[in-house]
């Protein structure tokens, strides 16, 4: 019985330390929507983007923010005349908004790629696909992060 009480106390202690740490961590300057917008503007300022054509493959819940699988898949024939040129992925709750930028060629045959990223906390992932004719398509999805991957 006393053991249970102890472990509960320990749990509470650790919990409150974690909360304190998150309040007292000034080095974790987190990216916000504005940063993602700035990063996007750098690439495609003033251009219109439509939802669709690109799909994000993400877990709804990431237990470990240090290693979160992130996949993208863009609908495209991938011919010399019509292919996906680039895909950029952003995270709005990380210290820096950029995650990855892909450049595809028709030789890929399929505009699909996967990697693994760190997520500091629960946040939205945004992907933008740039087609060979200049059209832009986007997809957005939230990932809930149980343990943040900011190494703090």
């Amino acid at each position: 019985m006393s053991q249970t009480a102890n472990s509960r106390r320990d749990f509470l202690k650790t919990g409150s330390i974690a909360v304190l740490a998150s309040i007292l961590a000034p080095h974790m300057v987190l990216a916000e929507e504005a940063d993602v917008k700035a990063a996007l503007d750098k690439l495609y300022s003033g251009k219109t983007m439509a939802a669709g054509k690109i799909k994000l493959d993400l877990p709804q819940i990431a237990e470990n923010g240090l290693v979160v699988p992130v996949g993208i898949d863009v609908e495209s024939p991938m011919t010399d005349a019509d292919y996906v040129k680039a895909v950029h992925i952003f995270a709005d709750g990380n210290p820096l908004p950029n995650v990855i930028s892909y450049r595809f060629t028709p030789d890929c045959g399929k505009a699909s790629a996967s990697a693994r990223m760190r997520l500091a906390k629960t946040q939205n992932i945004l992907a933008v696909a740039e087609m060979s004719n200049g059209q832009l398509f986007t997809a957005k999805q939230e990932v809930k992060v149980t343990i943040g991957g900011c190494g703090g």
Binding site: M28, P95, I100, C108, K110, A115
Partner: protein
């Protein structure tokens, strides 16, 4: 320390494919991918050191590139596709912040 070791690339590519066949290429490289966002025990920022670029070329022509940023996990994994046309050789290159490059080659026979 693990990050002092030379990164070791590992690539999985089929050795044979039919013309027009879509193949998936999976790559992995050991690397600490230090984000530049962390501080050491003394409170000093640990300088960023990541692999910032991955390139796949086939018979000398770049077919796929990825720019990696600080959010990419340690020991970065990358998979992508390639449509087999002719026999030849892949060259996979990883570029480190410190100026080093790591390279590995894989032959593909199409027939």
């Amino acid at each position: 320390m693990a990050d002092e070791k030379k990164p070791v690339p590992r690539v999985r590519v089929p050795a044979n494919a039919k013309a027009g066949e879509l193949i998936e290429i999976k790559t992995l490289i050991s690397h600490v991918m230090e984000s530049g966002q962390r501080r050491d025990a003394a409170g000093a920022v640990i300088p960023r050191r990541i692999i910032n670029k991955f390139t796949a070329a086939f018979n000398g022509k770049t077919v796929f590139e990825a720019d990696w940023y600080a959010s990419i996990s340690a020991n970065p994994y990358q998979s992508f596709f390639y449509k087999a046309k002719e026999s030849g050789e892949f060259v996979f290159t990883w570029k480190d912040d410190d100026g080093s490059t790591y390279e590995t080659k894989n032959k593909l026979t199409v027939g």
